[in-house]
């Protein structure tokens, strides 16, 4: 399968307003529970004023790849991600290695609120940060898919180190494939991204690459705030599943 010469590196910046964040969805993800006071006004203010200039950005670099059983080789780096994830890349000859961040402002704001005793507000802003970064990544992935389609190619779901059997420590290999401080995201020795509300991972590319609408069954994460939503509401997969 010959590889198509796609534009190799893309970088995107987003304004929080263009991400169409659903405040009701944030309260739902936070599991606010019945009878709890509404934080809609608070979240509206955070989105439309306090975090209006959040440095939301992301991007990807496309590289040739070779997948075998439970691993993928890219530019001399071998990702041992386990069969559950590697199987999704069997029809792929290239990978988009991506990173995306909600920016440092969200984490700072969440910490500031919690330290001032506004515990629920701090918790909600933390979830808002997770939603921002996933929404921004949805946009990036959509752009990539559109570009691929023009070239007769398709994309897989996106996966990240830490999911299923893929050790989070392999993030070191992933970041070694990206330009230094790509999208202003850095990685610590213990594989923590900074800013903390950031995601990184890979998307498979190929003529026969397959996009799966539900992958939660592959994952054992009990803490994922998006878990199992897809099963109950398949129409809203884009809003619910972080594996899109």
């Amino acid at each position: 399968m010959g590889n198509v010469n796609l534009s190799n590196t893309r970088h995107f910046k987003f304004h929080i307003e263009e991400l169409n964040i659903s405040i009701e969805n944030i309260e739902k993800l936070a599991r606010m529970g019945e009878g709890m006071p509404s934080y809609i006004e608070f979240l509206n203010k955070e989105i439309n004023s306090t975090l209006l200039d959040a440095s939301i950005e992301g991007g990807y670099i496309i590289l040739d790849s070779d997948s075998k059983n439970d691993r993928i080789e890219v530019e001399g780096q071998v990702f041992q991600m386990g069969e559950a994830i590697a199987k999704h890349y069997t029809n792929c000859s290239q990978l988009a290695v991506f990173v995306c961040t909600a920016g440092p402002e969200v984490s700072k704001r969440s910490m500031e609120l919690s330290q001032n005793g506004d515990l629920i507000e701090g918790f909600l802003v933390d979830i808002l940060g997770s939603v921002i970064v996933e929404k921004a990544m949805d946009r990036i992935q959509k752009t990539l898919q559109e570009e691929l389609l023009k070239n007769g190619l398709k994309a897989t779901n996106r996966y990240s180190p830490g999911y299923v059997d893929w050790n989070v420590g392999e993030q070191q290999k992933l970041f070694s494939l990206l330009p230094n401080q790509f999208c202003n995201v850095s990685l610590s020795e213990s594989s923590l991204m900074s800013p903390s509300k950031s995601v990184s991972g890979i998307i498979g590319i190929g003529k026969n690459a397959k996009y799966k609408h539900h992958v939660c069954n592959d994952c054992s994460s009990a803490n994922c705030i998006y878990r199992n939503k897809r099963i109950k509401d398949p129409k809203n997969a884009e809003n619910n599943c972080s594996f899109q």
Binding site: R31, M36, G117, L119, E189, S221
Partner: protein, 222 residues
């Protein structure tokens, strides 16, 4: 049980902070943990009695409900706020030694890890159950845990980690703590760890939820 202590316990359990607080809706316009604690002190009830007969009972109920998935993080945070409002009135009595806590718990997220929501929940729950909590924050090295523990003989240490990469730092930290003082009790928690890991690294207790930490501390205190 004294009626006002019972009311304080209900306020903590349901997250009723003060009179102005609109939550929970069925208690709107009623005094909350803040006012009731002050009233209890004014009526001659001791800080220790309020802690044991009010706050601890309320927080224990929240802890059990959280374990059973009957309430979630926001409700626990509401309870923690109600408890904090009450504790503001009690702190001077603890500081003067007039009232005593059950023990000291030193908690921190281990070196290399910056996640703190789980750690904070444990800290709040433990404090509400009658312990003094010293929160060392995130990215805490073994030396810092040891230094703090040496200042507080008999204290118990709690280690938190969220990543599989940082859970390995727990092993290093537990070893350093035990090398320094083999009798020091250490409990661990966080998404990637389990009982098997706890035993392997020589920690004394693994708990999947905050109430489990409280129960472990109670077993050590008794």
């Amino acid at each position: 049980m004294n009626e006002i202590l019972e009311q304080i316990a209900i306020c903590v359990e349901s997250g009723k902070i003060n009179n102005a607080s609109p939550f929970p809706p069925q208690m709107k316009g009623q005094d909350g943990a803040d006012e009731l604690t002050k009233q209890a002190l004014d009526s001659g009830i001791t800080a220790g009695e309020i802690l044991q007969g009010g706050l601890m009972i309320g927080m224990e109920k929240v802890g059990v409900k959280f374990r059973e998935n009957k309430v979630f993080v926001p409700q626990v945070l509401m309870s923690a706020k109600a408890m904090s409002a009450a504790m503001e009135h009690l702190k001077p009595f603890f500081a003067s030694g007039e009232a005593e806590r059950k023990g000291i718990f030193i908690i921190g997220t281990v070196e290399g890890d910056l996640h703190d929501i789980g750690k904070n929940l444990v800290a709040m729950m433990v404090e509400g159950n009658g312990y003094e909590v010293i929160d060392l924050g995130t990215d805490v090295k073994a030396e810092k845990f040891i230094e703090e523990a040496e200042k507080h003989p008999g204290s118990v240490i709690g280690l938190s980690a969220l990543l599989t990469t940082t859970m390995n730092n727990m092993e290093k930290i537990v070893k350093a703590i035990k090398d320094n003082d083999a009798s020091r009790k250490v409990c661990i928690g966080g998404a990637p760890v389990n009982d098997e890991f706890c035993q392997r690294i020589g920690a004394d207790s693994y708990n999947p939820d905050p109430q489990g930490v409280v129960e472990f501390l109670n077993s050590q205190a008794s």
